[in-house]
């Protein structure tokens, strides 16, 4: 009976996916949502390919998944992934239904699936991934994720002993996943010229030893709690990494990837995006575990490195407009993108559209995360005006004042449209405009850019 439901779900899923693609020209979660309504066990009925790789973690899931897909495709294998849909069970079902036969057999060689941490129980219990790569675990959106221990349990409770975990050896939180249950392989990044002896970020999610709760020591920190922790009280330390990045060169944007067989590769990474080194190292580790040729990996990363993701640069009348996506309610993502301000002395105005305009639909917007965010770079002398937009602008301004930002720099706009007009009219030649925006403020960024380009046309 259930199998019959599954076959019905496939047909309905395929038809709705086809129609939605025609109408909206993009993937949505709707086909998967319908399929799960018809057959709640949809994901366990698919006849999955021989290799299933899941990617999870707080930051870097999408970048790592895209990279893995690219390398594996270059190795001649066909891939099914959920890059166009969500990373929850409905998104996975939507993706899988587009690449399966009518009886549910996946027609690709490899499934590369980005998995939301909180969806673990609806996914890892339905099929057994060969590999789960966890990029890292940090504090994240409070309402959705609670705290990192809560998310850790959400993943850890549903791991299968047949899965090999590929874990970040610099992360003392996610690095403890699957202990005594799964085979575990670690990747890490060696000390760089930017490593620090103490934590310089606003939050560190791992200050005390996860085993004995005494204060941890760190050989060094890369950023936040990512580094090399060890405990002098109980002897806790991270397991040895079989894959690691060394010789990170921030000027050239290169590093050396070292694998478990002693092979070395010089690889490029997106300059100014140190996260990228972790993503590439993790993705390469999985590829080497799958025995993908080292030259194919090298070439694939070369031709991807020029593409940028969440960072966009435009120029209007000699004014550079740089926009950077900051993940909603994620203090780590926001703090890291503010660091970009410190990388140049160019005169600039900063636009903050970082509060979550959609969150109020789920009750009132929680702004607690602002206090975990590092706003220090906004205090630089080269930052002239700080425009803050959105209905929570007073909260952002209050937090900035508490964090020591000079309030005379701050201009507030509750209304996004007025903000767009002000910026396009008041901009000063020779001053860059840096826009930090959350996902749902994408439209307002487009508006600002449009207003500026119209002004240029005049």
């Amino acid at each position: 009976m259930s199998k019959l439901r599954f076959l019905m779900a496939i047909i309905v899923g395929k038809i709705s996916a086809f129609l939605l693609q025609k109408i909206f020209k993009r993937g949505t979660n709707t086909p998967g949502a319908i399929m799960l309504k018809i057959c709640p066990d949809t994901l366990s009925y698919f006849i999955m390919p021989e290799t299933i790789i899941c990617i999870t973690g707080t930051n870097g899931k999408t970048g790592t998944s895209n990279l893995l897909t690219h390398i594996i495709q270059n190795s001649g294998k066909t891939v099914v992934n959920n890059s166009k849909g969500s990373n929850m069970d409905t998104g996975l079902a939507s993706a899988l239904v587009t690449k399966c036969t009518l009886d549910g057999k996946i027609t690709a060689d490899v499934a590369i699936l980005e998995v939301d941490e909180r969806s673990s129980q609806y996914i890892y219990t339905k099929f057994v991934p060969n590999y789960i790569l966890c990029t890292n675990l940090f504090r994240d959106s409070i309402k959705r994720n609670g705290h990192s221990g809560f998310i850790f349990d959400k993943i850890n409770d549903y791991l299968n002993e047949k899965t090999t975990l590929v874990l970040n050896g610099n992360d003392g939180i996610s690095g403890l996943l699957g202990e005594d249950v799964c085979e575990r392989v670690f990747f890490s990044v060696n000390k760089t010229e930017k490593s620090t002896d103490s934590c310089v970020d606003t939050v560190c999610d791992l200050i005390a030893c996860p085993k004995c709760h005494h204060k941890l020591d760190y050989e060094f920190y890369h950023y936040n709690h990512i580094g090399v922790p060890f405990c002098t009280h109980c002897g806790f330390k991270m397991p040895e990494s079989s894959f690691f990045a060394s010789d990170v060169d921030f000027n050239k944007g290169t590093f050396v990837f070292n694998d478990n067989r002693g092979e070395k590769l010089v690889l490029p990474f997106q300059k100014g995006n140190f996260f990228n080194v972790f993503n590439i190292t993790g993705a390469c580790a999985v590829c080497r575990l799958m025995d993908i040729d080292i030259d194919i990996i090298a070439n694939s990363i070369e031709d991807l490195s020029s593409k940028t993701g969440r960072f966009q640069e435009n120029e209007y009348n000699d004014i550079k407009v740089i926009s950077m996506l900051s993940k909603n309610q994620n203090p780590i993502s926001c703090s890291q993108s503010f660091k970009y301000l410190s990388s140049t002395d160019d005169e600039k105005d900063v636009v903050l559209l970082i509060t979550d305009s959609k969150d109020k639909k789920h009750g009132h917007e929680d702004i607690s995360w602002l206090y975990d965010t590092d706003f220090k770079p906004l205090n630089m002398e080269s930052v002239n005006t700080i425009y803050i937009g959105g209905s929570r602008c007073f909260d952002v301004a209050n937090c900035l004042e508490i964090k020591g930002i000079n309030t005379s720099k701050i201009v507030l706009f509750e209304n996004y449209d007025e903000l767009a007009i002000e910026i396009s009219e008041k901009n000063v030649t020779g001053r860059n405009i840096i826009i930090y925006f959350e996902l749902y403020a994408t439209n307002i960024v487009k508006k600002i850019k449009k207003a500026m380009s119209q002004k240029e046309d005049k």
Binding site: I142, F150, A208, H213, S368, S391, F394
Partner: protein
Amino acid sequence: MSKIIIEILYPEFNNLYGDRGNCEYLKKKLEKAGYEIAIIETALFDEPAFINNQVDFLLIGPCQEKHQLVEIEELKKYIDKIKNRIDNGGILLATGNAFELFGQYIETPAGEKIECLKFYPYYAKQFSKLRYNDCSVGEFDDIQIVGFKNLLSHSYGENPKPFLNMKKGCGMNPDSKIEGVRDNNLFATYHTGPILPLNPQFTDKLIKIADKNYTSVSLEYEKKAYEKRLKELLK
């Protein structure tokens, strides 16, 4: 009094939801009012400063449920000193699940009962897979207190000295209209995160208790942010 000492208990665990903002705001506001501020951060297993020294504000925030059990054992060593502080000492502000420390016990999802400090008759129950999010308004004296809650537990039982009468949102549990404890110098609440910067009026009141000579100072946007939130929440 021109110097104010703030102690944060176990910040390596008790800073999950922007809770650090409370101390930062106190510091900013008090400095603006002309005070000299010292901040002491006490790690688990170290002796807290308030045991033998003058501390004006003692702050303890929410922590992960598994860490809470470790902290309780540690705090039991100082049970008399904590009681004494509540009756005769400086302010003690406990936020999030730190409110539960002062009750009878915490029941874990496995059914184990962890004995707490037992100052008040209520008890807490943790739930494992669900998180409880809430935006609430509660009344203390004539002040409306706004804020957020992110919890993996609720409390039940008698609570003779509640801190807040809820106008909106959940109290000790979804069926309760009261929340927290106000007993002399103790202010305990389920609110998580930056409750002080969200509530400038309440913060002024706390400072006034710590130093009756304090004349209120304001940051530029604190009032607007507060009033806007209150209005939206009561709508």
